[in-house]
Symmetry: C2
Subunit: 174 residues, 2 copies
């Protein structure tokens, strides 16, 4: 029962990494694209289109194949990719399904959903989450901070600051 969940999450997080990459590329191209497109299409709208095309190219899927998989018309998908139309959330969800990525990813690209960021946001979210008991919050926060520390230490080690491979490899196993 946990495998599909893990698989899905693995997919989502893998996509997120490509999002970060594509976002940097899009940030460079967004200013160019905005002047090309028109004021009727906001810059955020053209971002989701480019993102969709990027994902589709990465998956080596034709526009028609994705359109069929997503259940939308291929001309419309073409227009969306080129930033000529602004798709509804429903269409975005369909496209996400066709791309086998989460709808939230496309929502964020489209500016529908805010992308939360940062450590403070995570801590605050866990603390305020009433779907959790106080004990569970404490456990999650402790684990979170352990992981965050690890991540920071690993990043520092990769930069070649101070290597401590043995204790960390044990905790990774556990």
């Amino acid at each position: 029962m946990q495998r599909p969940t893990e698989f899905v999450r693995e997919q989502v997080t893998a996509v997120r990494e490509s999002v970060a990459t594509a976002a940097q590329t899009a940030a460079a191209g967004a200013s160019t694209g905005a002047s090309t497109v028109a004021s009727s299409v906001p810059a955020v709208g053209s971002q989701v289109g480019e993102f969709i095309r990027t994902q589709r190219s990465a998956a080596q899927v034709s526009l028609r194949e994705l359109a069929r998989a997503a259940g939308v018309s291929n001309p419309y998908l073409s227009q969306v990719e080129r930033g000529l139309r602004k798709p509804s959330a429903e269409i975005l969800a369909q496209i996400a399904r066709g791309l086998k990525i989460s709808a939230e990813t496309l929502y964020e690209q489209a500016g529908i959903l805010d992308r939360r960021s940062g450590t403070a946001g995570t801590v605050a979210a866990i603390r305020a989450d009433e779907a959790l008991s106080e004990r569970h919050k404490a456990v999650l926060l402790e684990l979170y901070e352990t992981y965050a520390r690890e991540h920071a230490a690993q990043a520092a080690r990769e930069q070649g600051t101070t290597p401590h491979p043995t204790p960390e490899s044990q905790e990774e196993t556990a």
Copy 2:
């Protein structure tokens, strides 16, 4: 810095509780509403309208006042509340701002966003947190949802899944 964040989340979670109440009411009325409305408006769509009206009534705000606060036309808001129109994510975000609740809440009511066990904000925050590796994110998310499920199960038990009148009256007092 954390107070406004906590305040916002407190608002969101308070609304969530009224969501659960309104959802039960809507579940009874939804079958009636579905036959009245039309197949062009899905049951989920009429749910967000009722939810909006419920929130508005709770806030003792007139339709016109909310429409003005939200920056949408009052006839349209009226149609949305009655399930005659299906608002876009953009309009939902505006209405949410007028109601001083999170847009995600309305997205979920509208069926745009999947309702995760727990607060959508927590999940999103963990996912977006770059202080975490992808593997750690997955672990945290899984643990989070396990805890949230436990919490929900406990809440269901406290609501008297098995009738114990004496403990219920005590818990209602508490």
